[in-house]
């Protein structure tokens, strides 16, 4: 298919590489170096979507990041992505895209009926129309809005692409590679500063690619190419294209998204799709340029109406004509540049200039080329539905209020130039309060808040000569302050055409008897009339007007609409624009993919995975793993066709009858050393620690200052001034920070050092009536008798040549020991235990059996120590020392904590001894009581008691101490269960604790 709007010898595209692509199911061709937008326009396609609210036909308005219309759904390599701007998406072989926001198709769109039912959709229409009747919301309005709204469809598939994060420091970060970016980067680089130069487009050079200027006897583009290739060679410079700096955060940190593979048919092997850069810069130079703003007139959203600078870019960069019969509508000299480019390529444009006979070099050139120019003329309305066919134009009076006779002029596009708006988003995000610059009718950055400087057009400087000069100087000065180098660069000679002042005209009045929609915000369909209504209804603050009308709230964030909106409010309110003020600019400047924000931290990589030294053994022995914080722990070891329930029951039973071994490496371990170690323990634990002898362990509970239990565990006195503390797996990091807090800030006089040794030790618990026999065989040279190693005793032993620590402590309630060896010997230890244990019928057991064993013993764990319970609640009040003070003690005197009917841990058994009780269920007195049924407590942990072969649960129950023997109901609305239960002691098995001491 021919590309009817492609010029032959103009543009920067690669005509040797033809690319085929599909849009809305139709095949087209473009060239390497095209965007999807330029390729479509080359093929004469201008209808690309429907507007958000009225579903009016939409074409292209810009040529880059400012595009409000041409948002498509992209299909690439089996994936799909919404919210892609056709003006930014580079063409690749096989690209497929579809229009969004239209249903069933872009040519016949049901939602367009909104356009004819405008009465439904004035400003605030969501708030007004869809509020009543209430029942209509779910059935009628919401499905309608859902179907009609939205800018594409998010993929529900797993994204197989990779996204990277990168952290970088630099001296100068320069955002934009136009004239100011290149000049400042060059000067700073020559001074040896570390420079990052970021350009969001694929080509460097910004406006130098399209403007007719001369720098040092070169064209703008040649000069830009030269600077870039020199910068690329310098080791202190990073030059990045396809990279958008979209956010300016505190302390000079900026975030940039680099699109590495989006322009390729598929991502190369080992390459990421996108990379997010976190850049901490000493200085930031904002050289983001400016965006042309439209002039508001009737039907100014018709496809074919676009920015004049975009038309010029399509022509000069892509060799594409946006029309063959163009009408240029301008209030300044920029429109003439576009007209001249058309003329040079054999196209006859007509210029409508709102000014009355202005004079400048550019205007003279246009006149000399014989271009038809109509001064004091405006476009009243575009005509044509899916594409501009003609324009109603008229002369406008000196005061810009009166229109002359309406004439109709044939045209196929209207290129609008309403002057330039500096892109101040980044400066504004940095905290810089912008100020209004009268002569350009726009805001520019004010006093710098962080280390940022705004250069060139972004700072309201619109001549190349001035821009280059100030940018060279700034780059030189800032880099000199950092590097102390002072390389002088000779300033190139600049030739540019002189222009004259613009006309502060921005909105064409409506002709009598006509009610054309005049749009301010093209993406969100906010028209002049909407703002008028909002103000009539009493909205004054620009922030409120924005939210009520959705002006500037779409994904383009009002890049083209902002200032005209302000002009309108200021006109109606009879205020000057700076008094109206603008809304806040927030990051991101342009949409950023969720993938880039998340980076590599997805799925299994969202947190580190920690494995014990015995992990491989567990894997080989059919362990089924469970996440325990960041650790992977065996949940059970599967035998044959066993399920979780059967396996854990077998494992727990084996502990109660023979001996089991459990990997307890994950327990937090903290090494505590120093002459005041005992004093520290005495202050952080609730019980007494000063008299613990060497070679003895003790169970302890620590509180937060508010009296809530923080953690529990055993601590062993290894030698005079050396203790080994264990914490729960979950609280290991918090407990260490807690100890450090008190040692460093509260009691710095204590001479104690603490350090985490969790990873230094591998741990195995051996538990069961035969555990001592096993231990004796493992340590034949040690006395492990009840006298030699009594309950809570500690010795060191020799495990077949490996040094081991042996603690006689028990979580299972059985006679039990924990053996620790250095991590590297963990697997050796485990294999020895399994080998020697064979004759005692040893079996490994996982966390599920471990839970069962502790629950039926009434030992508390994480589900009871859940940040809401005090020692009493867990029946740990016996561990509260009356003689000494400790962290959190004073809080325990609070009224609620000492109430007579305070909650307490109890055991729960179903009356039928069969029905399992879901964890998290509530306990109530009367299962038929009207809702809300008063809740007496909750089930914290459930198991199948292997001792009694029936379900057993722990619960935290109001007035628990007086409830033993009561009959209550367990209710789980979630599982739809009501279970009659009896309350029993939480110490279901071995209530006297004889086994651990046996």
């Amino acid at each position: 298919m021919t590309q009817a709007f492609r010029l032959e010898n103009v543009g920067l595209i690669n005509r040797n590489k033809k690319l085929s692509f599909k849009f809305n199911g139709k095949n087209y061709h473009g060239y390497e170096g095209d965007t999807l937008a330029s390729a479509l326009i080359a093929n004469g396609v201008h209808l690309v979507g429907r507007s958000f609210k009225y579903h009016r036909p939409r074409g292209f308005f810009g040529a880059g990041v400012d595009e409000p219309y041409a948002i498509v759904q992209l299909y690439r390599n089996g994936e799909t992505e919404p919210n892609i701007k056709a003006t930014e998406q580079e063409l690749f072989e096989g690209l497929e895209a579809k229009s969004v926001n239209c249903w069933p198709s872009v040519n016949f769109d049901i939602g367009a009926i909104n356009n004819f039912l405008k009465i439904f959709l004035p400003a605030g229409f969501y708030y007004k129309t869809f509020m009543w009747p209430k029942s209509f919301w779910y059935k009628v309005y919401e499905p309608f809005i859902r179907k009609a709204a939205g800018l594409g469809v998010a993929s529900i598939k797993h994204d197989k692409e990779r996204y990277e994060h990168k952290y970088e420091y630099c001296d100068l970060l320069i955002t934009g590679s136009g004239p100011s970016g290149l000049a400042s980067a060059y000067a700073a680089a020559k001074n040896g500063a570390r420079v990052i130069l970021a350009e969001d487009k694929s080509r460097f050079g910004g406006t130098l690619l399209t403007s007719d200027v001369n720098i040092g006897n070169q064209s703008g583009k040649e000069w830009a190419d030269g600077i870039i290739s020199e910068l690329k060679e310098m080791p202190n410079v990073t030059v990045k294209n396809r990279s958008q700096v979209f956010g300016y955060y505190d302390h000079n940190m900026l975030v940039m998204s680099e699109r590495i593979s989006d322009h390729l048919p598929e991502t190369k092997k080992f390459h990421p799709k996108q990379r997010l850069w976190y850049i901490r810069a000493k200085e930031v130079l904002i050289s983001s340029g400016s965006i042309e703003r439209p002039i508001v007139f009737g039907n100014n959203d018709t496809p074919g109406v676009m920015l004049s600078s975009a038309a010029k870019e399509y022509l000069k960069v892509y060799g594409v004509l946006v029309g063959k019969n163009p009408l240029i509508f301008t209030n300044n000299d920029s429109g003439y540049e576009t007209a001249i480019e058309f003329k040079k390529n054999g196209i006859d444009p007509v210029i409508l200039d709102t000014r009355n006979d202005p004079n400048s070099e550019i205007i003279d050139e246009a006149k000399n080329l014989g271009i038809d120019i109509k001064f004091s003329y405006v476009v009243v309305a575009a005509q044509g539905y899916k594409k501009v066919k003609s324009a109603d134009i008229a002369k406008i009076s000196e005061d810009k209020e009166q229109l002359g006779k309406i004439e109709n002029i044939k045209c196929d596009c209207i290129c609008v130039s309403g002057f330039w708006t500096p892109t101040i988003h980044l400066a504004s995000q940095s905290g810089n309060k912008s100020k209004f610059k009268e002569d350009i009718d726009a805001f520019i950055p004010g006093i710098s808040k962080q280390n940022e400087t705004t250069l060139g057009a972004a700072n309201g400087v619109y001549t190349l000569d001035q821009t280059l000069k100030s940018s060279f100087e700034t780059g030189q000065k800032l880099s000199k302050e950092i590097t102390n180098n002072d390389n002088k660069i000779s300033f190139p000679n600049v030739v540019e055409k002189k222009s004259t002042v613009h006309d502060k005209f921005w909105c064409v009045p409506l002709p009598k008897g006509k009610n054309y929609k005049r749009f301010l915000d093209f993406q969100n369909d906010v028209a002049v009339s909407d703002i008028e209504i909002a103000l009539k209804e009493g909205y004054r603050s620009i922030e409120h007007v924005k939210r009520y009308t959705t002006l500037g709230m779409a994904t383009d964030q009002g890049k083209t609409s902002n200032l005209n909106g302000l002009q309108l409010v200021s006109k109606i309110e009879n205020k000057v624009v700076p008094a109206v003020g603008h809304t806040t600019f927030r990051p991101p400047y342009t949409p950023v993919s969720i993938g880039a924000i998340v980076g590599r931290e997805v799925g299994k990589h969202s947190k580190p995975t920690r494995k014990s030294p015995m992990h491989t053994w567990h894997e080989k022995n059919n362990a089924v793993f469970v996440d325990a914080g960041v650790w992977l722990r065996p949940r059970y070891y599967k035998r044959g066709n066993e399920n979780l329930f059967e396996a854990s029951k077998r494992e727990a039973k084996n502990v109660r009858t023979n001996v089991g071994v459990c990997d307890v490496t994950t327990l937090g371990k903290i090494d505590i050393k120093g002459p005041d170690a005992a004093e520290l323990l005495n202050r952080v634990y609730t019980n007494a620690w000063l008299k613990l002898p060497v070679g003895k362990a003790r169970y302890g509970v620590m509180l937060r200052e508010d009296g809530i239990v923080m953690d529990d565990g055993t601590t062993t006195r290894i030698s005079e001034n050396h203790y080994h503390m264990t914490t729960t797996t979950a609280q290991a990091a918090n407990v260490l920070s807690h100890l450090e807090y008190y040692l460093q800030l509260v009691w710095p006089e204590l001479n104690v050092n603490v350090v985490s040794t969790t990873e230094q030790w591998a741990g195995a618990a051996i538990a069961g009536p035969k555990s001592r026999d096993l231990l004796q065989k493992l340590f034949p040279n040690s006395d492990v008798s009840n006298e030699g190693l009594p309950f809570m005793g500690y010795i060191e032993g020799d495990l077949f040549g490996v040094k081991a620590k042996i603690f006689r402590i028990s979580f299972s309630g059985e006679l039990a020991y924990e053996i620790n060896v250095e991590s590297d010997n963990g697997n050796f230890m485990w294999e020895k235990i399994m080998e020697v244990g064979q004759e005692f019928e040893i079996q490994p057991y996982g966390t599920e059996a471990l839970s069962t064993l502790r629950i039926e013993m009434g030992h508390v764990a994480g589900s009871e120590l859940d940040g809401r319970t005090i020692p009493y609640d867990n029946s740990l009040e016996g561990l509260l020392s009356k003689k000494k003070d400790f962290i959190g003690k004073r809080s325990l005197t609070r009224k609620a904590f000492t109430a007579d009917d305070r909650q307490k841990i109890v055991g729960v058994v179903p009356l039928d001894k069969k029905t399992s009780i879901p964890e998290g269920s509530h306990l109530v007195k009367d299962s038929n009581a009207p809702l809300p049924n008063p809740k007496l407590g909750y089930i914290s942990a459930s198991c199948w008691s292997v001792e009694y072969d029936n379900p057993f649960s722990l619960a935290i129950l109001k007035d628990g101490k007086n409830m033993i023997g009561e009959k209550l109901f367990v209710m789980s609305p979630l599982k739809n269960k009501v279970i009659p239960v009896e309350i029993v002691s939480s110490h279901y098995v071995d209530p006297k604790g004889e086994r651990v001491r046996s």
Partner: protein, 89 residues
């Protein structure tokens, strides 16, 4: 993301630190008799200041030291950082 000068390690990004609240709160001495009000003030009551604020941060992914940071809660400007044993002036 803030850039915090650890007095032990130098300028580091905020994600190496964890926040520890108001640095001016003094824990009552152990064993001292105090009123419910005093204890409540220590445990619960904090001013939510707008402006300069001395606060605690711990350099958890670095030297693990608790440090004192004077920060403007509105602008995030950091004026001064101190070691744990240095008095706030």
């Amino acid at each position: 993301m803030l850039h915090i000068k650890c007095p032990h390690c130098g300028m580091r990004s905020q994600n190496e630190f964890s926040y520890g609240g108001d640095a001016t709160v003094k824990r009552p001495e152990l064993g001292k008799e105090i009123s419910d009000q005093e204890w409540n003030d220590f445990v619960y009551n904090r001013k939510s200041l707008r402006g300069k604020h001395w606060e605690l941060w711990q350099h958890i992914s670095g030297c693990r030291q608790w440090i004192k940071v004077e920060r403007d809660t509105a602008s995030h400007e950091i004026f001064k950082t101190l070691k744990a044993d240095q008095e706030i002036s």
